[in-house]
Symmetry: C2
Subunit: 320 residues, 2 copies
């Protein structure tokens, strides 16, 4: 979702764009996402864990957006070694490729709010403690430290963004392991009820994909961001229940179920979370433009038009 | 050095001991270290990256001491992917083996003062910021976070110690990539001069191997240490120059050279470092017993007796 959204923006702004995606079956890669710009971009099928491909990928470019990931914290805790392989080793290979074959490039890493773990205060600024409570969060933090190290030790121009809860058009819709807003949109469109755990008052910071991509671009284009890390969210706290209501209102006839928290989900409940986005705004001037209701409307409209590119009508949801 | 020292202690205290070592050529494994207790221990040649061997290794034991490592920060920065493989993936495999095959065991991880990076104050307590400035330090911190996560998520009894500058009998003496006190003892015994960079006033916390092993044992045996992390040092700050003088005085006819700091070494100079060992002392009652002069004398005496087990007279020092 973020990669293709960024590519659309970059093409619109006149950039030459090269995209690398491993096209792993359960991940977000979907060539339909690139169809409108297919003739204007270069596409390489390749995995960040493939050093030779990364050498080819980073050569000659001014900016590298390292957005590849295993993106489910649930899966990370079930298979920490796979998460390590993709979410640490892969990025180290990208950094090594840049250091060796394109040391003048700028490299942006998409980290996550999960580095913060249990929130101690809100809004959460970049100096909040990083007591990660998932392998996913631990590895994101580890890679942030690689990026800082490569900046200091090898003078590579690196920067990181800690993305809140992104949603929007072009996310994969095959399973529910990440991206709750999109998954709820799919459920609603399939006529399934939406489930709220507990009182649904937990606060999240939902940020629209296009806003997120613009934030990533802004951080890349600003020389002031070198060696630093930035929150990237809407800056607005929304109760989970309110997000669900918005989805239900945008997809007619959607039912909402309220049930107690299951035990195993509770562990990854990080407490309320809102990004403090002062630092990125001060550094780049970027501001989020699409509010949650408008973003959900745009997302629903996108999937109504292109649903069959993202899921089979008959497909059962994969369970976590 | 630490593994075999710990094994000697544990055998002395009546424990049944199983030792696993990969016996990699440039690492610390040396069967001579175990000769005096060879008939009382079980030895398995195996690598922490080998999941099947780790399954075999952790089965049925009450305590797992995960001391395996690539131990050179210099090498970690030159080959970050190898460091990742041993110093992250290996430990994750150990934790997975414990979680799956011996969830009742206690697992102790040997972390390092390098997690702190540039020191902001001294003595350094466990809440000091962890702004690592080497891949080695980044990976040690990453594994500490694994240990905390496995404690919280899977109820595994884990704990970590951040070891200062250990030295003493049984360390490898083949190259200078880690363990400066031991390396200087070798140089002095070979009739080579000892080099002091800059004014030699940088403060370090040198901790004797046997004291370190006793501290590791104390942390393992205390139920209060579960899920926590502890500094493990002497608690005493010694100027580098003073350490060098002590070596020179213990090995007659040793010359000392003073030269400016080379540029590439400066990067890993972390500033003065002294461990605050209040927390481990409060939790376990452990205290370091061997002062630097006595420790160097014991170390010199050990290598005078067993030199040929640790280096060839004619062997050239491997360069970093």
């Amino acid at each position: 979702m973020l990669g293709s959204t960024l590519a659309h923006l970059a093409v619109k702004y006149g950039a030459k764009v090269r995209i690398i995606d491993a096209m792993l079956p359960l991940y977000g890669g979907n060539l339909f996402n690139l169809e409108p710009i297919a003739r204007e971009i270069e596409f390489i099928e390749g995995d960040i864990r493939d050093a030779l491909k990364m050498k080819e990928a980073v050569k000659g470019v001014d900016y590298v957006f390292d957005l590849a990931a295993q993106v489910s914290y649930v899966h990370s805790n079930r298979d920490p070694l796979l998460d390590l392989d993709i979410n640490c080793r892969g990025h180290l290979i990208v950094l090594e490729a840049c250091r060796q074959f394109n040391p003048e490039t700028k490299v942006v890493f998409s980290s996550s709010r999960f580095v913060y773990g249990l929130t101690q205060y809100n809004p959460v600024d970049e100096d909040h403690p990083t007591n990660c409570i998932s392998i996913y969060g631990i590895h994101k933090l580890n890679v942030e430290k690689y990026f800082k190290f490569y900046s200091e030790a090898f003078n590579l121009d690196t920067t990181c963004v800690r993305i809140a809860n992104p949603y929007g058009p072009r996310q994969q819709m095959k399973h529910n392991a990440y991206g709750i807003v999109n998954w709820f949109i799919r459920l609603a469109m399939d006529g399934q009820p939406l489930t709220i755990y507990g009182d649904g008052k937990q606060i999240r910071d939902y940020v629209f994909a296009e806003d997120t991509a613009k934030g990533i671009l802004a951080v890349a284009l600003s020389p002031a961001t070198r060696g630093k890390v930035y929150n990237l969210g809407s800056g607005i706290g929304t109760p989970f229940r309110e997000m669900v209501m918005n989805v239900a209102e945008c997809v007619p006839h959607t039912e909402i179920h309220e049930v107690p928290w299951p035990k195993d989900r509770y562990f990854v409940e990080t407490g309320d979370f809102v990004s403090d986005i002062t630092r990125i705004q001060d550094a780049t001037g970027w501001v989020p433009e699409v509010n949650l209701r408008a973003g959900i409307e745009k997302t629903v409209a996108f999937y109504c038009e292109h649903k069959r590119q993202y899921w089979e009508p008959s497909q059962f949801a994969l369970r976590r």
